[in-house]
């Protein structure tokens, strides 16, 4: 079946510096998965310190440099490095590259019926700029004083007076942001301009819509952070004071800075990106889930147009809620009222999307494949993440819950068992298209159930800790009486985290073994309708054998009168 109609390119041009969107997509996916695992490892180290404060890390501890661990006991500065880099890596080097760089690159041209991205060289460049950003971030661990340690939010003045790792962090961020900008412009142009004949906007698979909205968010929200990152870099290396007020006294010394800046300016610029960023993390996940649910319920998605309108509205509103991250910075009630109202408004389209996806189950003929299990689990997990955002969006409740473990639980439910589950679903679902072979269903299900149990074991107890008032980013929470009271939960969370790591072994083995020894897949193994399944498996250079034409909407499953329970978009007439 597979027909490789690529030209004879040398190895390095075909697989390393490739302009083929599929190769770039695979590069993004593999790099993203590796960084995801690396970020997870950082967290597992932190979990030892949190569960057993100031006890030496057994066996592994001996391999760490004395500036990070002294005879196996973690130092607070190393803990802060791990925390800052865990957040940065998971978001900017793991999830976004996977969701937008990996899935977006691989699937967008296929689903719109294009031979490649609109700007293939720009596409290659965006991957390599991302790669350089990743290398800079990774290398910063080996600096004399280690990596950045002021949190992934890098609030000044702390970040400006911090060690050299912060400079690397800022430079790395400039690369990562540049990469995202290049990639998202490419996706927008591809979607709008390279659509196949007959593929109107309302015949887009929801995944395409989610990528379109996501790319607009990236294009509009990232530039302010890039500018802010450069301003902070100037504060650190050029003696400016964009974020530094006058008269600071650090460890008994008056700080030599010109002063006159405002640290809150950074927070505004940062969250102006970082709130839309939340939707950058979640929208592609919703897109993946919608695809997989339509395919595995064998019926159209419920309320497709409502989903689309909600996604657009969500994208628009996400620019108007950023200051709900700053309720406790001393803002006036007028400001906080405005941002509380916008925050409540933005919850409505999220509820609509979630409701539409749950209702899509009704009337289906549900196949419980591995990707479908992950997609189904996404719904309640994202539900918990969304619901627990409510108390944080109301300033009154936020007064107690702000910056506690409640926040950690909330956004991890959105991103970890939410987005990452959707990404797993996507990997299992499109694996046959990419490699020509299926992953093992049995080991996929083992992976799913174990992950589902342990990931809840990690994040559910955090709500209790947050209500109890335990602050985030504490090297040793038992220093506080209210931290000591809930310390048993930290032990539960840590064991869950380590077991979750073990639960990834079936996935990793399944992934690699299936590439070579999986069951051979046909062109359309899931009997799906969208255009990517109209290509040969795996698709060759240029994707489609003949230019596809689109005759119907994306989710024409179980059409009455049709011979099969799926009517692909590219086939004329009912079949």
């Amino acid at each position: 079946m597979s027909s490789d109609h690529s030209h004879d390119l040398p190895f390095w041009k075909k697989y390393i510096f490739s302009t083929d969107h599929k190769v770039v997509g695979i590069q993004y996916t593999v790099t993203g998965l590796l960084f995801l695992f690396f970020g997870f490892c950082l967290m597992m180290l932190m979990r030892w310190q949190l569960a057993f404060p100031s006890q030496p890390l057994p066996w592994l501890g001996q391999f760490f440099h004395e500036k990070t661990m002294v005879s196996g006991i973690m130092l607070p500065e190393f803990y802060n490095q791990l925390g800052a880099m865990h957040g940065t890596i998971m978001i900017f080097l793991g999830v976004v590259p996977l969701a937008v760089g990996g899935f977006g690159n691989y699937l967008v041209p296929l689903q719109v019926g294009a031979p490649d991205m609109a700007f293939p060289k720009l596409n290659m460049m965006s991957y390599w700029v991302y790669f350089i950003g990743g290398v800079i971030m990774f290398c910063s661990f080996f600096l004399p004083d280690g990596s950045a340690q002021s949190g992934w939010t890098s609030y000044p003045p702390l970040s400006v007076i911090a060690n050299q790792g912060q400079t690397f962090w800022l430079i790395g961020m400039v690369f990562l942001i540049t990469s995202s900008l290049l990639g998202s412009i490419n996706i927008i142009v591809t979607i709008v301009h390279l659509r196949a004949e007959g593929l109107t906007f309302f015949r887009f698979p929801f995944f395409i819509w989610s990528q379109l909205v996501t790319s607009f968010l990236l294009v509009l929200a990232f530039p302010p952070l890039e500018a802010a990152g450069i301003l902070q870099l100037m504060d650190r290396v050029a003696g400016t004071s964009f974020f530094m007020p006058s008269g600071l006294v650090v460890s008994g010394q008056v700080l030599q800075a010109s002063g006159g800046g405002n640290p809150l300016l950074w927070q505004h610029l940062f969250w102006f990106l970082a709130h839309p960023e939340v939707y950058v993390l979640i929208l592609p996940a919703m897109g993946i889930v919608a695809e997989i649910m339509a395919c595995n319920t064998r019926k159209p998605i419920y309320g497709y147009k409502m989903l689309v309108y909600s996604a657009i509205f969500l994208g628009f509103m996400s620019f108007l809620v950023w200051a709900h991250h700053m309720f406790l910075t001393g803002m006036s009630t007028k400001m906080s009222s405005f941002f509380q109202i916008t925050t409540m408004i933005i919850s409505i389209p999220s509820v609509i999307i979630l409701t539409a996806l749950v209702l899509s189950l009704w009337g289906g003929s549900i196949r419980f494949t591995t990707p479908m299990l992950f997609a189904i689990a996404f719904l309640p997990m994202f539900g918990i993440g969304g619901l627990t955002g409510l108390p944080l969006g109301l300033t009154a409740a936020d007064l107690h819950l702000h910056d506690t473990y409640y926040v950690i639980g909330h956004f991890h439910y959105v991103v970890a068992p939410g987005t990452i589950f959707a990404l797993f679903a996507g990997v299992y679902h499109w694996f046959p298209k990419v490699t020509g072979r299926k992953m093992s269903e049995f080991w996929g299900k083992v992976h799913f159930w174990l992950s589902f149990i342990f990931i809840n074991g990690i994040f559910m107890p955090m709500f209790s800790m947050g209500l109890a008032g335990v602050s985030r980013r504490l090297y040793d929470p038992t220093q506080y009486a209210h931290g000591l009271a809930v310390q048993p939960l930290n032990v539960v969370i840590s064991y869950s985290a380590w077991l979750l790591a073990l639960a990834q072994i079936p996935f990793i083995l399944n992934f690699f073994i299936s590439i070579f020894a999986g069951k051979k897949a046909t062109d359309n193994p899931w009997e799906a309708t969208t255009l990517e399944w109209a290509t040969p498996t795996p698709p060759g250079h240029g994707n489609f054998l003949t230019e596809p034409k689109v005759y119907r909407g994306p989710y024409e499953y179980s059409v009455p009168g049709a011979q099969h329970d799926f009517s692909p978009q590219h086939l004329e007439g009912i079949n």
Partner: protein, 253 residues
């Protein structure tokens, strides 16, 4: 370390000893009831659908579905409920917390200046006037940079990591920071406020019972963030006055 009553803290909200905290707790509880109800409703529907519509021989998916009315009502209900939460709970609570400051003549005024990694607590002393803080005088022995030759600063009281307040009396704490952003958190008081260098931000509260509690730092402020713990003591008025007398600077002989 002072004895701390274990009954204050647990797996849920800590005890509340403030006059304004009950309203916050009520909001948090209502929210969680709402969230759990919505989640269980959704969950039951989802599990029922998964079982009823599982693929099996002879079962076919339905292409045309009637439009559901219920979700529209659910959306409207959620929107309305959120409006009630805003107007009925959050706005008034925040308004009271931020704007309804007690009369300065009856309230106790305290300044808290955060630094890496301690809380410097500054009382005005007998004259009721705070001496000025000068950055260039800030040394380990004089964390607030007070110029003791100044008349207003002579009787000022400085306590490190110890905030004492009298019970049943409104207290206004003016928060600021010497170096980086910290966050002043009194779990039992339902008070949390960032301290931003370059700004002075007041918070106010009133305690309803005496005891020994904690001040926590809620914003990452460096490697010692985890040990930026202060003691928060609510005394009777007499005990508080005695403590102030003990802490007052002794006249030099």
């Amino acid at each position: 370390m002072r004895a701390m009553n274990n009954n204050y803290y647990g797996f849920g909200l800590p005890i509340d000893i403030s006059t304004h905290g009950a309203a916050i707790d009520r909001l948090i509880i209502i929210l969680h009831i709402f969230m759990v109800a919505l989640f269980i409703g959704w969950g039951i529907f989802m599990i029922y659908s998964l079982i009823k519509f599982r693929a099996r021989p002879g079962h076919k998916a339905t292409y045309h579905l009637n439009h559901f009315k219920a979700p529209t009502y659910l959306e409207l209900f959620v929107a309305l409920f959120e409006a009630v939460l805003l107007v009925g709970f959050s706005f008034p609570i925040v308004n009271q917390f931020v704007n309804a400051k007690p009369d300065e003549s009856t309230a106790l005024k305290v300044r808290v200046v955060a630094e890496q990694f301690a809380w410097n607590v500054h009382y005005a002393g007998k004259d009721g006037i705070f001496g000025a803080s000068k950055p260039e005088l800030m040394k380990p022995g004089n964390p607030l940079g007070l110029d003791r030759s100044q008349e207003a600063a002579k009787d000022d009281i400085v306590a490190i990591n110890q905030l004492h307040i009298p019970v049943h009396k409104p207290v206004i704490v003016e928060l600021s920071s010497k170096d980086v952003i910290h966050s002043f958190f009194l779990p039992v008081m339902r008070v949390k406020q960032d301290t931003v260098p370059g700004q002075k931000i007041p918070v106010w509260f009133e305690a309803t019972q005496t005891g020994n509690f904690e001040i926590a730092c809620a914003q990452l402020c460096g490697l010692g963030h985890y040990r930026m713990r202060g003691f928060f003591t609510v005394d009777t008025q007499e005990d508080f006055d005695t403590w102030l007398d003990q802490m007052a600077p002794k006249p030099e002989v």
